[in-house]
Symmetry: C2
Subunit: 325 residues, 2 copies
Protein backbone atom coordinates (compact mmCIF):
# COMPACT_ATOMS: atom_id res chain seq x y z
CA UNK A 1 0.00 0.00 0.00
CA UNK A 2 2.81 2.42 0.83
CA UNK A 3 4.14 1.91 -2.70
CA UNK A 4 1.01 3.30 -4.33
CA UNK A 5 0.69 6.18 -1.86
CA UNK A 6 2.73 8.80 -3.77
CA UNK A 7 0.58 8.40 -6.87
CA UNK A 8 -2.65 8.49 -4.85
CA UNK A 9 -1.34 11.54 -3.08
CA UNK A 10 -0.65 13.45 -6.25
CA UNK A 11 -4.01 12.38 -7.72
CA UNK A 12 -5.70 13.58 -4.58
CA UNK A 13 -3.74 16.80 -4.49
CA UNK A 14 -4.80 17.57 -8.04
CA UNK A 15 -8.40 16.71 -7.33
CA UNK A 16 -8.51 18.97 -4.28
CA UNK A 17 -6.86 21.79 -6.25
CA UNK A 18 -9.58 21.49 -8.90
CA UNK A 19 -12.22 21.27 -6.18
CA UNK A 20 -10.88 24.44 -4.61
CA UNK A 21 -10.92 26.27 -7.93
CA UNK A 22 -14.66 25.56 -8.31
CA UNK A 23 -14.70 22.31 -10.30
CA UNK A 24 -18.03 20.70 -9.30
CA UNK A 25 -17.05 17.32 -10.72
CA UNK A 26 -13.90 17.20 -8.62
CA UNK A 27 -16.00 18.10 -5.59
CA UNK A 28 -18.54 15.38 -6.35
CA UNK A 29 -15.76 12.85 -6.84
CA UNK A 30 -14.03 13.80 -3.57
CA UNK A 31 -17.34 13.57 -1.71
CA UNK A 32 -17.99 10.12 -3.20
CA UNK A 33 -14.56 8.86 -2.17
CA UNK A 34 -15.22 9.99 1.40
CA UNK A 35 -18.79 8.72 1.46
CA UNK A 36 -17.73 5.29 0.21
CA UNK A 37 -14.74 5.15 2.55
CA UNK A 38 -12.43 4.55 -0.41
CA UNK A 39 -8.74 3.78 0.22
CA UNK A 40 -7.85 7.38 -0.60
CA UNK A 41 -10.57 8.85 1.69
CA UNK A 42 -8.15 9.69 4.49
CA UNK A 43 -5.83 11.42 2.03
CA UNK A 44 -8.77 13.42 0.65
CA UNK A 45 -9.80 14.50 4.14
CA UNK A 46 -6.26 15.30 5.19
CA UNK A 47 -5.76 17.43 2.07
CA UNK A 48 -9.09 19.22 2.59
CA UNK A 49 -8.50 19.75 6.30
CA UNK A 50 -6.56 23.04 6.15
CA UNK A 51 -9.33 24.57 3.99
CA UNK A 52 -12.25 23.40 6.12
CA UNK A 53 -13.78 24.88 9.25
CA UNK A 54 -14.50 28.30 7.75
CA UNK A 55 -18.15 27.78 6.89
CA UNK A 56 -21.07 28.21 9.24
CA UNK A 57 -22.69 24.81 9.66
CA UNK A 58 -26.44 24.96 10.13
CA UNK A 59 -28.24 21.75 11.10
CA UNK A 60 -31.98 21.43 10.48
CA UNK A 61 -33.95 18.66 12.16
CA UNK A 62 -37.56 17.89 13.08
CA UNK A 63 -40.18 15.19 12.61
CA UNK A 64 -41.01 13.97 9.09
CA UNK A 65 -43.43 16.25 7.27
CA UNK A 66 -42.72 19.49 9.14
CA UNK A 67 -41.22 21.09 6.04
CA UNK A 68 -37.49 20.85 6.67
CA UNK A 69 -36.63 20.49 2.97
CA UNK A 70 -38.68 23.53 2.07
CA UNK A 71 -37.02 25.57 4.81
CA UNK A 72 -33.58 24.45 3.69
CA UNK A 73 -34.41 25.30 0.06
CA UNK A 74 -35.64 28.77 1.02
CA UNK A 75 -32.62 29.40 3.21
CA UNK A 76 -30.33 28.30 0.38
CA UNK A 77 -32.06 30.63 -2.09
CA UNK A 78 -31.96 33.50 0.41
CA UNK A 79 -28.23 33.09 0.96
CA UNK A 80 -27.49 32.69 -2.73
CA UNK A 81 -29.47 35.87 -3.37
CA UNK A 82 -27.16 37.64 -0.93
CA UNK A 83 -24.05 36.29 -2.66
CA UNK A 84 -23.33 33.74 0.05
CA UNK A 85 -22.20 30.34 -1.29
CA UNK A 86 -24.10 27.34 0.03
CA UNK A 87 -23.63 23.59 0.40
CA UNK A 88 -26.55 21.37 1.36
CA UNK A 89 -26.24 17.87 2.80
CA UNK A 90 -29.60 16.10 2.90
CA UNK A 91 -29.39 12.95 4.98
CA UNK A 92 -32.03 10.49 3.80
CA UNK A 93 -32.95 7.03 4.95
CA UNK A 94 -32.58 4.12 2.54
CA UNK A 95 -35.75 2.55 3.83
CA UNK A 96 -37.59 0.79 1.02
CA UNK A 97 -40.59 2.89 2.06
CA UNK A 98 -39.26 6.42 1.80
CA UNK A 99 -35.87 6.03 0.18
CA UNK A 100 -35.81 7.51 -3.25
CA UNK A 101 -38.21 10.43 -3.21
CA UNK A 102 -36.21 13.10 -1.44
CA UNK A 103 -33.07 12.19 -3.31
CA UNK A 104 -34.97 12.61 -6.56
CA UNK A 105 -36.24 16.06 -5.57
CA UNK A 106 -32.75 17.11 -4.66
CA UNK A 107 -31.28 16.02 -7.92
CA UNK A 108 -33.95 18.04 -9.74
CA UNK A 109 -33.29 21.01 -7.50
CA UNK A 110 -29.62 20.94 -8.34
CA UNK A 111 -30.26 20.57 -12.05
CA UNK A 112 -32.65 23.48 -12.01
CA UNK A 113 -30.32 25.75 -10.15
CA UNK A 114 -27.18 25.13 -12.21
CA UNK A 115 -25.39 27.59 -9.94
CA UNK A 116 -21.64 27.17 -9.20
CA UNK A 117 -22.10 28.77 -5.74
CA UNK A 118 -24.51 26.05 -4.73
CA UNK A 119 -23.84 22.36 -4.16
CA UNK A 120 -26.29 19.76 -2.88
CA UNK A 121 -25.60 16.22 -1.84
CA UNK A 122 -28.03 13.57 -0.63
CA UNK A 123 -26.69 10.94 1.69
CA UNK A 124 -28.32 7.66 2.59
CA UNK A 125 -28.48 6.21 6.07
CA UNK A 126 -26.55 3.00 6.29
CA UNK A 127 -27.05 0.27 8.82
CA UNK A 128 -23.91 1.07 10.75
CA UNK A 129 -24.16 2.77 14.11
CA UNK A 130 -22.87 6.28 14.31
CA UNK A 131 -21.37 5.79 10.88
CA UNK A 132 -23.63 8.26 9.21
CA UNK A 133 -22.79 11.10 11.57
CA UNK A 134 -19.11 10.50 10.91
CA UNK A 135 -19.60 10.44 7.14
CA UNK A 136 -21.74 13.58 7.25
CA UNK A 137 -19.01 15.38 9.19
CA UNK A 138 -16.39 14.31 6.68
CA UNK A 139 -18.53 15.23 3.67
CA UNK A 140 -19.18 18.64 5.25
CA UNK A 141 -15.41 19.19 5.55
CA UNK A 142 -14.90 18.38 1.87
CA UNK A 143 -17.70 20.72 0.78
CA UNK A 144 -16.26 23.43 3.05
CA UNK A 145 -12.89 23.01 1.36
CA UNK A 146 -14.60 24.02 -1.90
CA UNK A 147 -15.11 27.42 -0.31
CA UNK A 148 -18.80 27.37 0.60
CA UNK A 149 -19.75 29.97 3.20
CA UNK A 150 -22.72 28.12 4.67
CA UNK A 151 -23.36 24.39 4.98
CA UNK A 152 -26.97 23.36 5.57
CA UNK A 153 -27.31 19.86 7.02
CA UNK A 154 -30.82 18.48 6.88
CA UNK A 155 -31.94 15.25 8.51
CA UNK A 156 -35.05 13.12 8.21
CA UNK A 157 -36.73 12.50 11.56
CA UNK A 158 -35.64 13.29 15.09
CA UNK A 159 -33.98 10.15 16.44
CA UNK A 160 -30.56 9.62 17.98
CA UNK A 161 -29.02 9.47 14.52
CA UNK A 162 -30.31 12.92 13.78
CA UNK A 163 -29.15 14.27 17.12
CA UNK A 164 -25.67 12.94 16.38
CA UNK A 165 -25.72 14.50 12.94
CA UNK A 166 -26.92 17.95 13.95
CA UNK A 167 -24.46 18.00 16.84
CA UNK A 168 -21.89 18.59 14.12
CA UNK A 169 -23.48 21.96 13.47
CA UNK A 170 -22.62 25.39 14.75
CA UNK A 171 -26.31 26.32 14.73
CA UNK A 172 -29.03 23.71 15.24
CA UNK A 173 -32.56 24.46 14.10
CA UNK A 174 -35.44 22.31 15.34
CA UNK A 175 -38.59 22.59 13.21
CA UNK A 176 -42.03 22.08 14.70
CA UNK A 177 -45.52 22.49 13.26
CA UNK A 178 -48.90 23.16 14.88
CA UNK A 179 -51.22 20.21 15.32
CA UNK A 180 -48.66 17.46 15.07
CA UNK A 181 -50.80 15.15 17.20
CA UNK A 182 -47.55 14.77 18.95
CA UNK A 183 -47.20 17.32 21.69
CA UNK A 184 -44.04 19.29 22.06
CA UNK A 185 -43.78 17.36 25.34
CA UNK A 186 -43.50 14.10 23.52
CA UNK A 187 -40.55 15.23 21.43
CA UNK A 188 -37.67 12.86 21.70
CA UNK A 189 -35.64 13.72 24.74
CA UNK A 190 -32.44 15.35 23.67
CA UNK A 191 -33.96 17.36 20.84
CA UNK A 192 -34.98 20.26 23.08
CA UNK A 193 -31.50 20.34 24.54
CA UNK A 194 -29.70 20.62 21.22
CA UNK A 195 -31.89 23.35 19.72
CA UNK A 196 -30.30 26.77 19.20
CA UNK A 197 -33.33 27.98 17.27
CA UNK A 198 -36.90 26.77 17.03
CA UNK A 199 -38.97 27.21 13.90
CA UNK A 200 -42.74 26.86 14.05
CA UNK A 201 -43.45 26.18 10.40
CA UNK A 202 -46.86 26.13 8.72
CA UNK A 203 -47.61 28.97 11.14
CA UNK A 204 -50.85 29.79 9.31
CA UNK A 205 -52.31 26.63 10.78
CA UNK A 206 -54.32 26.74 13.95
CA UNK A 207 -52.29 26.22 17.08
CA UNK A 208 -49.05 27.97 16.10
CA UNK A 209 -49.23 30.20 19.17
CA UNK A 210 -49.79 27.20 21.37
CA UNK A 211 -46.68 25.47 20.01
CA UNK A 212 -44.66 28.60 20.71
CA UNK A 213 -46.04 28.80 24.26
CA UNK A 214 -45.22 25.15 24.85
CA UNK A 215 -41.65 25.65 23.71
CA UNK A 216 -41.36 28.66 26.03
CA UNK A 217 -42.79 26.68 28.92
CA UNK A 218 -40.25 23.91 28.35
CA UNK A 219 -37.43 26.38 28.12
CA UNK A 220 -38.30 27.70 31.55
CA UNK A 221 -37.93 24.14 32.89
CA UNK A 222 -34.79 23.31 30.98
CA UNK A 223 -31.25 23.59 32.11
CA UNK A 224 -29.81 26.84 30.87
CA UNK A 225 -28.10 27.15 27.49
CA UNK A 226 -25.73 29.75 28.82
CA UNK A 227 -26.87 33.26 27.99
CA UNK A 228 -28.41 32.24 24.67
CA UNK A 229 -32.16 31.71 24.86
CA UNK A 230 -33.19 29.83 21.69
CA UNK A 231 -35.62 32.08 19.82
CA UNK A 232 -38.85 30.78 18.31
CA UNK A 233 -39.38 31.90 14.70
CA UNK A 234 -42.69 31.40 12.91
CA UNK A 235 -42.54 30.62 9.21
CA UNK A 236 -44.71 29.55 6.30
CA UNK A 237 -41.85 28.09 4.32
CA UNK A 238 -43.97 27.25 1.28
CA UNK A 239 -44.61 30.96 0.68
CA UNK A 240 -41.27 32.11 2.09
CA UNK A 241 -42.93 34.03 4.91
CA UNK A 242 -40.69 34.36 7.93
CA UNK A 243 -37.53 33.17 6.18
CA UNK A 244 -36.02 36.64 6.60
CA UNK A 245 -36.74 36.50 10.35
CA UNK A 246 -35.08 33.09 10.42
CA UNK A 247 -31.94 34.31 8.65
CA UNK A 248 -31.85 37.25 11.08
CA UNK A 249 -32.02 34.86 14.01
CA UNK A 250 -29.24 32.75 12.48
CA UNK A 251 -27.12 35.87 12.03
CA UNK A 252 -27.67 36.81 15.67
CA UNK A 253 -26.72 33.33 16.79
CA UNK A 254 -23.58 33.53 14.65
CA UNK A 255 -22.69 36.86 16.25
CA UNK A 256 -23.22 35.42 19.73
CA UNK A 257 -21.10 32.38 18.87
CA UNK A 258 -18.27 34.49 17.54
CA UNK A 259 -18.20 36.68 20.62
CA UNK A 260 -16.11 35.54 23.60
CA UNK A 261 -14.71 32.53 21.75
CA UNK A 262 -17.89 30.46 22.02
CA UNK A 263 -17.53 29.04 18.53
CA UNK A 264 -14.01 27.86 19.37
CA UNK A 265 -15.32 26.16 22.51
CA UNK A 266 -18.01 24.35 20.48
CA UNK A 267 -15.58 23.25 17.85
CA UNK A 268 -13.06 22.07 20.38
CA UNK A 269 -15.79 19.93 21.98
CA UNK A 270 -16.74 18.71 18.54
CA UNK A 271 -13.20 17.69 17.69
CA UNK A 272 -12.79 15.97 21.03
CA UNK A 273 -15.69 13.69 20.13
CA UNK A 274 -14.54 13.25 16.56
CA UNK A 275 -10.98 12.32 17.49
CA UNK A 276 -12.30 9.80 20.01
CA UNK A 277 -14.55 8.27 17.41
CA UNK A 278 -11.82 8.19 14.78
CA UNK A 279 -9.59 6.36 17.21
CA UNK A 280 -12.32 3.89 18.05
CA UNK A 281 -12.77 3.09 14.38
CA UNK A 282 -9.06 2.86 13.72
CA UNK A 283 -8.59 0.47 16.63
CA UNK A 284 -11.39 -1.75 15.37
CA UNK A 285 -9.81 -1.81 11.94
CA UNK A 286 -6.53 -2.93 13.52
CA UNK A 287 -8.34 -5.67 15.38
CA UNK A 288 -10.08 -6.87 12.23
CA UNK A 289 -6.91 -6.77 10.19
CA UNK A 290 -4.49 -8.30 12.66
CA UNK A 291 -6.49 -10.08 15.24
CA UNK A 292 -9.90 -11.34 14.38
CA UNK A 293 -11.25 -12.32 11.00
CA UNK A 294 -14.93 -12.34 10.10
CA UNK A 295 -14.91 -16.10 9.99
CA UNK A 296 -13.40 -16.30 13.45
CA UNK A 297 -15.91 -13.77 14.77
CA UNK A 298 -18.77 -15.88 13.41
CA UNK A 299 -17.37 -18.99 15.08
CA UNK A 300 -16.97 -17.14 18.38
CA UNK A 301 -20.50 -15.76 18.24
CA UNK A 302 -21.80 -19.27 17.75
CA UNK A 303 -19.84 -20.62 20.72
CA UNK A 304 -21.04 -17.73 22.89
CA UNK A 305 -24.67 -18.11 21.79
CA UNK A 306 -24.52 -21.79 22.72
CA UNK A 307 -22.94 -20.96 26.10
CA UNK A 308 -19.68 -22.76 25.32
CA UNK A 309 -17.69 -19.57 25.68
CA UNK A 310 -18.06 -16.71 28.16
CA UNK A 311 -17.81 -13.42 26.23
CA UNK A 312 -16.82 -11.49 29.35
CA UNK A 313 -13.65 -13.60 29.63
CA UNK A 314 -13.17 -13.89 25.90
CA UNK A 315 -13.07 -10.20 24.99
CA UNK A 316 -10.10 -9.25 27.20
CA UNK A 317 -8.14 -12.12 25.60
CA UNK A 318 -8.99 -10.92 22.11
CA UNK A 319 -8.04 -7.36 22.93
CA UNK A 320 -4.70 -8.56 24.34
CA UNK A 321 -3.89 -9.85 20.86
CA UNK A 322 -3.64 -6.39 19.35
CA UNK A 323 -2.68 -4.25 22.33
CA UNK A 324 0.92 -3.75 23.41
CA UNK A 325 1.77 -5.56 26.63
CA UNK B 1 -6.32 -4.83 41.12
CA UNK B 2 -5.43 -8.51 40.71
CA UNK B 3 -4.88 -8.68 44.48
CA UNK B 4 -8.46 -7.72 45.29
CA UNK B 5 -9.95 -9.96 42.63
CA UNK B 6 -10.39 -13.12 44.77
CA UNK B 7 -12.44 -11.27 47.35
CA UNK B 8 -14.56 -9.50 44.71
CA UNK B 9 -15.07 -12.86 43.05
CA UNK B 10 -16.34 -14.55 46.18
CA UNK B 11 -18.56 -11.55 46.98
CA UNK B 12 -19.96 -11.69 43.49
CA UNK B 13 -20.41 -15.46 43.58
CA UNK B 14 -22.40 -15.14 46.80
CA UNK B 15 -24.49 -12.32 45.41
CA UNK B 16 -25.34 -14.28 42.25
CA UNK B 17 -26.19 -17.36 44.32
CA UNK B 18 -28.62 -15.27 46.36
CA UNK B 19 -29.96 -13.68 43.19
CA UNK B 20 -30.55 -17.13 41.73
CA UNK B 21 -32.38 -18.29 44.86
CA UNK B 22 -34.89 -15.43 44.51
CA UNK B 23 -33.33 -12.68 46.64
CA UNK B 24 -34.69 -9.46 45.08
CA UNK B 25 -32.17 -7.27 46.90
CA UNK B 26 -29.26 -9.25 45.51
CA UNK B 27 -30.80 -8.92 42.05
CA UNK B 28 -31.24 -5.17 42.46
CA UNK B 29 -27.65 -4.84 43.66
CA UNK B 30 -26.26 -6.87 40.78
CA UNK B 31 -28.27 -4.82 38.28
CA UNK B 32 -26.98 -1.59 39.82
CA UNK B 33 -23.37 -2.76 39.60
CA UNK B 34 -23.84 -3.52 35.91
CA UNK B 35 -25.78 -0.35 35.20
CA UNK B 36 -23.13 1.81 36.87
CA UNK B 37 -20.28 -0.08 35.19
CA UNK B 38 -18.76 -0.79 38.61
CA UNK B 39 -15.32 -2.48 38.78
CA UNK B 40 -17.02 -5.81 39.55
CA UNK B 41 -19.53 -5.47 36.67
CA UNK B 42 -17.63 -7.83 34.36
CA UNK B 43 -17.40 -10.42 37.14
CA UNK B 44 -21.15 -10.10 37.76
CA UNK B 45 -21.89 -10.57 34.06
CA UNK B 46 -19.47 -13.45 33.71
CA UNK B 47 -21.00 -15.22 36.71
CA UNK B 48 -24.54 -14.64 35.42
CA UNK B 49 -23.67 -15.68 31.88
CA UNK B 50 -24.23 -19.46 32.20
CA UNK B 51 -27.70 -18.81 33.65
CA UNK B 52 -28.81 -16.28 31.06
CA UNK B 53 -30.25 -16.71 27.58
CA UNK B 54 -33.19 -18.88 28.67
CA UNK B 55 -35.85 -16.18 28.80
CA UNK B 56 -37.88 -14.92 25.86
CA UNK B 57 -36.95 -11.27 25.35
CA UNK B 58 -39.82 -9.15 24.11
CA UNK B 59 -39.05 -5.58 23.01
CA UNK B 60 -41.84 -3.01 22.87
CA UNK B 61 -41.31 0.25 21.02
CA UNK B 62 -43.40 3.01 19.44
CA UNK B 63 -43.87 6.77 19.54
CA UNK B 64 -44.46 8.50 22.88
CA UNK B 65 -48.08 8.32 24.02
CA UNK B 66 -49.12 5.19 22.12
CA UNK B 67 -49.60 3.24 25.34
CA UNK B 68 -46.44 1.12 25.52
CA UNK B 69 -46.32 1.14 29.32
CA UNK B 70 -49.94 0.04 29.58
CA UNK B 71 -49.36 -2.78 27.11
CA UNK B 72 -46.26 -3.91 28.99
CA UNK B 73 -48.15 -3.81 32.29
CA UNK B 74 -51.04 -5.85 30.89
CA UNK B 75 -48.65 -8.35 29.31
CA UNK B 76 -46.81 -8.68 32.63
CA UNK B 77 -50.06 -9.28 34.52
CA UNK B 78 -51.23 -11.79 31.94
CA UNK B 79 -48.02 -13.78 32.17
CA UNK B 80 -47.95 -13.65 35.96
CA UNK B 81 -51.54 -14.91 35.98
CA UNK B 82 -50.37 -17.87 33.93
CA UNK B 83 -47.51 -18.60 36.35
CA UNK B 84 -44.84 -17.22 34.01
CA UNK B 85 -42.17 -15.14 35.79
CA UNK B 86 -41.51 -11.70 34.30
CA UNK B 87 -38.80 -9.07 34.28
CA UNK B 88 -39.48 -5.60 32.89
CA UNK B 89 -36.81 -3.14 31.78
CA UNK B 90 -38.27 0.31 31.10
CA UNK B 91 -35.76 2.51 29.32
CA UNK B 92 -36.52 6.15 30.10
CA UNK B 93 -34.88 9.36 29.02
CA UNK B 94 -33.28 11.58 31.61
CA UNK B 95 -34.54 14.65 29.86
CA UNK B 96 -35.47 17.35 32.34
CA UNK B 97 -38.85 17.42 30.60
CA UNK B 98 -40.03 13.84 30.87
CA UNK B 99 -37.49 12.18 33.11
CA UNK B 100 -39.01 11.32 36.43
CA UNK B 101 -42.63 10.49 35.71
CA UNK B 102 -42.36 7.04 34.22
CA UNK B 103 -39.78 5.98 36.74
CA UNK B 104 -42.14 7.04 39.51
CA UNK B 105 -45.01 5.04 38.04
CA UNK B 106 -42.80 2.01 37.77
CA UNK B 107 -41.67 2.19 41.35
CA UNK B 108 -45.31 2.34 42.45
CA UNK B 109 -46.16 -0.54 40.17
CA UNK B 110 -43.49 -2.68 41.76
CA UNK B 111 -44.51 -1.75 45.28
CA UNK B 112 -48.12 -2.57 44.55
CA UNK B 113 -47.37 -5.90 43.06
CA UNK B 114 -45.02 -7.19 45.78
CA UNK B 115 -44.67 -10.39 43.75
CA UNK B 116 -41.40 -12.36 43.81
CA UNK B 117 -42.02 -13.62 40.27
CA UNK B 118 -41.99 -10.07 38.96
CA UNK B 119 -39.13 -7.62 38.77
CA UNK B 120 -39.15 -4.17 37.19
CA UNK B 121 -36.24 -1.87 36.52
CA UNK B 122 -36.23 1.61 35.05
CA UNK B 123 -33.14 2.70 33.23
CA UNK B 124 -32.17 6.22 32.23
CA UNK B 125 -30.72 7.17 28.88
CA UNK B 126 -27.24 8.54 29.23
CA UNK B 127 -25.51 10.80 26.79
CA UNK B 128 -23.18 8.12 25.51
CA UNK B 129 -23.73 6.66 22.08
CA UNK B 130 -24.87 3.08 21.98
CA UNK B 131 -24.07 2.83 25.66
CA UNK B 132 -27.65 2.39 26.68
CA UNK B 133 -28.26 -0.53 24.35
CA UNK B 134 -25.22 -2.27 25.81
CA UNK B 135 -26.31 -1.63 29.38
CA UNK B 136 -29.84 -2.81 28.62
CA UNK B 137 -28.45 -6.05 27.18
CA UNK B 138 -26.30 -6.62 30.25
CA UNK B 139 -29.11 -5.81 32.68
CA UNK B 140 -31.38 -8.23 30.78
CA UNK B 141 -28.77 -10.98 31.23
CA UNK B 142 -28.63 -10.37 34.98
CA UNK B 143 -32.41 -10.44 35.32
CA UNK B 144 -32.51 -13.61 33.23
CA UNK B 145 -30.04 -15.22 35.59
CA UNK B 146 -32.61 -14.72 38.36
CA UNK B 147 -34.75 -17.23 36.47
CA UNK B 148 -37.36 -15.00 34.82
CA UNK B 149 -39.15 -16.66 31.91
CA UNK B 150 -40.00 -13.50 30.00
CA UNK B 151 -38.15 -10.19 29.81
CA UNK B 152 -40.16 -7.23 28.55
CA UNK B 153 -37.99 -4.37 27.30
CA UNK B 154 -39.86 -1.12 26.82
CA UNK B 155 -38.42 2.00 25.21
CA UNK B 156 -39.55 5.60 25.00
CA UNK B 157 -39.80 6.86 21.45
CA UNK B 158 -38.73 5.31 18.16
CA UNK B 159 -35.28 6.66 17.37
CA UNK B 160 -32.04 4.88 16.62
CA UNK B 161 -31.47 4.32 20.33
CA UNK B 162 -34.70 2.43 20.55
CA UNK B 163 -33.96 0.43 17.43
CA UNK B 164 -30.63 -0.59 18.95
CA UNK B 165 -32.30 -1.54 22.20
CA UNK B 166 -35.14 -3.59 20.76
CA UNK B 167 -32.73 -5.36 18.43
CA UNK B 168 -31.66 -7.20 21.56
CA UNK B 169 -35.05 -8.84 21.66
CA UNK B 170 -36.23 -12.18 20.35
CA UNK B 171 -39.61 -10.64 19.56
CA UNK B 172 -40.01 -6.96 18.67
CA UNK B 173 -43.40 -5.31 19.01
CA UNK B 174 -44.04 -1.95 17.36
CA UNK B 175 -47.04 -0.09 18.79
CA UNK B 176 -49.08 2.30 16.65
CA UNK B 177 -52.29 4.22 17.31
CA UNK B 178 -54.95 5.64 15.01
CA UNK B 179 -54.84 9.36 14.32
CA UNK B 180 -51.23 9.97 15.22
CA UNK B 181 -51.06 12.92 12.85
CA UNK B 182 -47.99 11.09 11.83
CA UNK B 183 -48.75 8.68 9.06
CA UNK B 184 -47.43 5.19 9.21
CA UNK B 185 -45.39 6.32 6.20
CA UNK B 186 -43.56 8.84 8.29
CA UNK B 187 -42.42 6.30 10.84
CA UNK B 188 -38.71 6.38 11.31
CA UNK B 189 -37.05 4.24 8.69
CA UNK B 190 -35.83 1.08 10.28
CA UNK B 191 -38.77 0.65 12.61
CA UNK B 192 -40.87 -1.16 10.02
CA UNK B 193 -37.97 -3.48 9.31
CA UNK B 194 -37.43 -4.56 12.90
CA UNK B 195 -41.08 -5.27 13.74
CA UNK B 196 -42.05 -8.90 14.35
CA UNK B 197 -45.50 -7.87 15.52
CA UNK B 198 -47.55 -4.70 15.11
CA UNK B 199 -50.03 -3.55 17.72
CA UNK B 200 -52.67 -0.99 16.82
CA UNK B 201 -53.54 0.26 20.30
CA UNK B 202 -56.47 2.51 21.24
CA UNK B 203 -58.28 0.54 18.53
CA UNK B 204 -61.62 2.01 19.61
CA UNK B 205 -60.52 5.29 18.07
CA UNK B 206 -61.48 6.18 14.56
CA UNK B 207 -58.97 5.13 11.95
CA UNK B 208 -57.75 1.84 13.47
CA UNK B 209 -58.65 -0.06 10.29
CA UNK B 210 -56.82 2.51 8.21
CA UNK B 211 -53.64 2.08 10.29
CA UNK B 212 -53.86 -1.68 9.83
CA UNK B 213 -54.32 -1.27 6.07
CA UNK B 214 -51.35 1.08 5.88
CA UNK B 215 -49.15 -1.41 7.69
CA UNK B 216 -50.31 -4.14 5.30
CA UNK B 217 -49.60 -1.91 2.31
CA UNK B 218 -46.09 -1.23 3.56
CA UNK B 219 -45.47 -4.89 4.21
CA UNK B 220 -46.27 -5.65 0.59
CA UNK B 221 -43.52 -3.19 -0.42
CA UNK B 222 -41.01 -4.30 2.16
CA UNK B 223 -38.24 -6.80 1.75
CA UNK B 224 -39.39 -10.14 3.05
CA UNK B 225 -38.95 -11.14 6.69
CA UNK B 226 -38.46 -14.78 5.70
CA UNK B 227 -41.64 -16.76 6.05
CA UNK B 228 -42.86 -14.76 9.04
CA UNK B 229 -45.39 -12.08 8.13
CA UNK B 230 -45.64 -9.74 11.12
CA UNK B 231 -49.25 -9.89 12.31
CA UNK B 232 -51.22 -6.77 13.21
CA UNK B 233 -53.04 -7.06 16.55
CA UNK B 234 -55.65 -4.51 17.66
CA UNK B 235 -55.79 -3.71 21.35
CA UNK B 236 -57.38 -1.33 23.82
CA UNK B 237 -54.69 -1.78 26.42
CA UNK B 238 -56.40 0.42 29.02
CA UNK B 239 -59.29 -2.08 29.25
CA UNK B 240 -57.16 -5.14 28.48
CA UNK B 241 -59.02 -5.82 25.26
CA UNK B 242 -56.92 -7.69 22.73
CA UNK B 243 -54.10 -8.56 25.15
CA UNK B 244 -55.00 -12.26 24.83
CA UNK B 245 -54.70 -11.98 21.04
CA UNK B 246 -51.35 -10.29 21.53
CA UNK B 247 -50.03 -13.03 23.83
CA UNK B 248 -51.28 -15.61 21.29
CA UNK B 249 -49.37 -13.84 18.54
CA UNK B 250 -46.25 -13.74 20.74
CA UNK B 251 -46.62 -17.48 21.42
CA UNK B 252 -46.88 -18.15 17.68
CA UNK B 253 -43.81 -16.08 17.00
CA UNK B 254 -41.96 -17.99 19.72
CA UNK B 255 -42.97 -21.28 18.13
CA UNK B 256 -41.83 -20.07 14.74
CA UNK B 257 -38.50 -18.90 16.19
CA UNK B 258 -37.90 -22.21 17.94
CA UNK B 259 -38.57 -24.21 14.80
CA UNK B 260 -35.66 -24.82 12.40
CA UNK B 261 -33.13 -23.16 14.69
CA UNK B 262 -34.25 -19.60 13.90
CA UNK B 263 -33.80 -18.43 17.48
CA UNK B 264 -30.22 -19.73 17.45
CA UNK B 265 -29.53 -17.82 14.23
CA UNK B 266 -30.90 -14.60 15.77
CA UNK B 267 -28.89 -15.01 18.92
CA UNK B 268 -25.72 -15.82 17.05
CA UNK B 269 -26.18 -12.60 15.08
CA UNK B 270 -26.87 -10.77 18.31
CA UNK B 271 -23.68 -12.06 19.93
CA UNK B 272 -21.66 -11.21 16.88
CA UNK B 273 -22.67 -7.59 17.30
CA UNK B 274 -22.25 -7.66 21.05
CA UNK B 275 -18.75 -9.15 20.93
CA UNK B 276 -17.72 -6.55 18.37
CA UNK B 277 -19.04 -3.77 20.56
CA UNK B 278 -17.44 -5.18 23.70
CA UNK B 279 -14.11 -5.25 21.90
CA UNK B 280 -14.53 -1.71 20.68
CA UNK B 281 -15.15 -0.53 24.23
CA UNK B 282 -12.28 -2.57 25.66
CA UNK B 283 -9.88 -1.15 23.06
CA UNK B 284 -10.95 2.39 23.89
CA UNK B 285 -10.40 1.70 27.56
CA UNK B 286 -6.87 0.50 26.78
CA UNK B 287 -6.22 3.63 24.79
CA UNK B 288 -7.47 5.87 27.58
CA UNK B 289 -5.51 4.00 30.23
CA UNK B 290 -2.22 3.58 28.42
CA UNK B 291 -2.15 6.01 25.58
CA UNK B 292 -4.19 9.11 25.86
CA UNK B 293 -5.35 10.92 28.95
CA UNK B 294 -8.36 13.22 29.08
CA UNK B 295 -6.07 16.20 29.49
CA UNK B 296 -4.09 15.21 26.44
CA UNK B 297 -7.25 14.64 24.42
CA UNK B 298 -8.45 18.14 25.33
CA UNK B 299 -5.16 19.64 24.21
CA UNK B 300 -5.28 17.70 20.93
CA UNK B 301 -8.87 18.77 20.26
CA UNK B 302 -7.82 22.37 20.74
CA UNK B 303 -4.88 22.03 18.34
CA UNK B 304 -7.12 20.35 15.75
CA UNK B 305 -9.88 22.94 16.12
CA UNK B 306 -7.34 25.70 15.52
CA UNK B 307 -5.92 23.84 12.48
CA UNK B 308 -2.51 23.33 14.03
CA UNK B 309 -2.85 19.58 13.85
CA UNK B 310 -4.37 17.36 11.14
CA UNK B 311 -6.58 14.75 12.82
CA UNK B 312 -6.34 12.42 9.85
CA UNK B 313 -2.58 12.13 10.36
CA UNK B 314 -2.79 12.30 14.14
CA UNK B 315 -5.13 9.40 14.77
CA UNK B 316 -2.98 6.69 13.14
CA UNK B 317 -0.07 7.88 15.31
CA UNK B 318 -2.18 7.69 18.46
CA UNK B 319 -3.43 4.23 17.58
CA UNK B 320 0.14 3.06 16.99
CA UNK B 321 0.83 3.82 20.63
CA UNK B 322 -1.39 1.04 21.90
CA UNK B 323 -1.33 -1.43 19.03
CA UNK B 324 1.35 -4.10 18.65
CA UNK B 325 3.75 -3.41 15.81
Amino acid sequence: MSKTLPSVESDVTQMIERLRSGDVRALARAVSLVENDAPSATEVLSTCFPFSGRALRIGVTGAPGVGKSTIVDKLARHYRGAGVTVGVIAVDPTSPFTGGAILGDRIRMQENLGDPGFYVRSMATRGSLGGLARTTADVASVIEASGKDVILIETVGVGQDEIDIVRLSDVTIVVLVPGMGDDVQSLKAGIMEIADLFVVNKADREGADRVEKEVRAMQSLATSHGDWIPPVVKTIASTGEGIDRLTDAIAQMKQWLEADGRLEVRRRKYWRERITEMMRNALMRELREHGLSDVELDALAERVASKQEDPYRLVPELVARVVRA
